[in-house]
């Protein structure tokens, strides 16, 4: 009789506890998010010297998630959210300037965000990273990518690709590209190679998909260009439109561009994007 009573009593109490917790959860009582980043000096004073561990913790468990969420915010919200992210990133960098992951992630992700100052921020963070962090090929590499793609600044791009190329532990495809940057004849060739290198070396799924799309896009452009040239050789003049390439049986069909662009051919045989 008695053990049953004890058992029931315990079950009922546990049930009550779980139920009360559920009730609390359902009310969605959330304490307001604290938008407070303590100053690096303050934090450093009280962390018993464990700067590197604290920096790693803050990055992996808080600020990295914050950045990922940031990328999904609407443009207006990103303006204010960036200030906060920047402060938190700064704290981590002050605690452990050599910790490379925060710089890498920021440099890769920020240019792709809707935030207006994303490119500038990425460059600024990238340059800090190159100066302070442990040698990590990704920082100068993606900094150079940003210079090339967004700022069309080939000179700085070349500088940082060079640094990346000479950083130890850079994977071979990226290294090959970095050393050879500037050798490719056209900007398109250059850009295609960049995305190829990114595709082969990044372990970030979103980045990988993006790179693949670009590579396909550029490959299609090259393919169409080669077809246009062949047409010229065969018929003495450039085709007027892409359909001509198909009707004259030079290519079986017009490939679909992954970005959804449609192309036209200019007077001198140049491939152009239809507006």
């Amino acid at each position: 009789m008695k053990p049953i009573f004890t058992g029931v009593a315990i079950v009922v109490l546990l049930g009550g506890i779980v139920g009360t917790q559920g009730l609390y959860d359902s009310k969605k009582i959330k304490s307001p998010e604290i938008d407070f980043t303590p100053s690096p000096k303050l934090v450093k004073s009280f962390d018993l010297g464990l700067h590197s561990a604290l920096a790693s913790y803050l990055w992996l468990f808080k600020t990295r998630t914050e950045l990922i969420k940031f990328l999904f915010l609407s443009k207006e919200m990103q303006e204010t959210a960036y200030a906060r992210y920047s402060r938190n990133l700064n704290l981590i960098n002050e605690l452990d300037p050599k910790y490379s992951a925060p710089y890498v992630f920021s440099v890769i992700a920020l240019p792709g965000s809707k935030y207006a100052g994303g490119v500038q921020a990425s460059v600024e963070i990238g340059m800090r990273g190159v100066a302070d962090a442990d040698p990590d090929w990704q920082i100068p590499f993606y900094l150079a990518v940003t210079y090339h793609l967004e700022l069309k600044d080939n000179i700085n791009a070349a500088k940082y690709f060079d640094i990346a190329g000479h950083t130890p532990s850079i994977p071979e495809p990226a290294r090959r590209f970095s050393i050879n940057y500037g050798i490719f004849k056209t900007v398109r060739e250059q850009t295609k190679q960049i995305w190829q290198a990114i595709y082969e070396t990044t372990d970030d799924e979103t980045m990988r998909e993006r790179a693949q799309v670009y590579v396909v896009h550029f490959t299609i452009l090259d393919y169409l260009d080669a077809a246009i040239k062949k047409y010229k050789n065969m018929h003495g003049r450039y085709p007027k439109k892409l359909e001509d390439l198909v009707s004259k049986k030079i290519i079986p069909e017009i490939p679909r561009d992954p970005f959804g662009f449609e192309f036209t051919i200019g007077t001198d045989g140049d491939l152009r994007v239809k507006n």
């Binding site: 000096k41 004073s45 009280f46 018993l48 010297g49 992996l60 910790y99 490379s100 992951a101 442990d134």
Partner: protein
Amino acid sequence: MKIIFAIAKNTFREAVRDKILYAILGFAALFILSSLFVGQLSRGDIVPVKSFGLAGIYIFGLVASIFLGSSIIYKEIERRTLYFVLAKPVSRANVILGKFFGLLAAVALTTIFMAIIYEGVIFYQRGGFDYGAILAVLFQIMEESLFIALLIFLSSIIPPLTSTICAVIILFVGHLTPSALAEAKLVGGISHKFISLLYYVLPNLEKFDIRNFVVHNSPIPGSVGIIAFCYALLYTILLLYCAILLFNRREL
């Protein structure tokens, strides 16, 4: 001396058989092993794994020092086990030194044990061992010896709970004074002088922290080892000497 060794051996035995030590080691092992999870989270970046592992060894080493240190000394005085010992040809200095070495041995052993778990984690994660960490652990043991001497010194004048709290405060201050001094320099004046005084007199523990170098595989400046060792040695001797003086005057 033989007598100091006998007391040290006895203290070590008492400490090592304390169940609280096993609890601390258990938590430490869990913490260090959880840095494997950190390795997953960081996608193979070894820096956070090393940071967490070494931080764990540090924190739990200090926790072990505090728990063992304050309980051992309290028990001696409050529970009169000292009476047996002092009726024998054992000076009060022998007692202090014996307790110190016994405690240090126990804490050092705990630290080394945690370091072994850490190296296991690193080996699993990376396939090699972190030799820099061995140096970091040696520096930590130097810091622990200073800290234990501090605990012994404090417990010869104030009761155990208060001395534990004091020791923890001094521990934080020991890491705080370098940055406080930098700030005070800007302000100048009396506060600068005051903070400078604290800076030089209170134990300055930053010098034993080479973790940030080890985690990033940076070369460690050459003279740091010798300086840290001398500082630990001198400060420990000072604390133990004062502890002996105070203990000699204590009524039992």
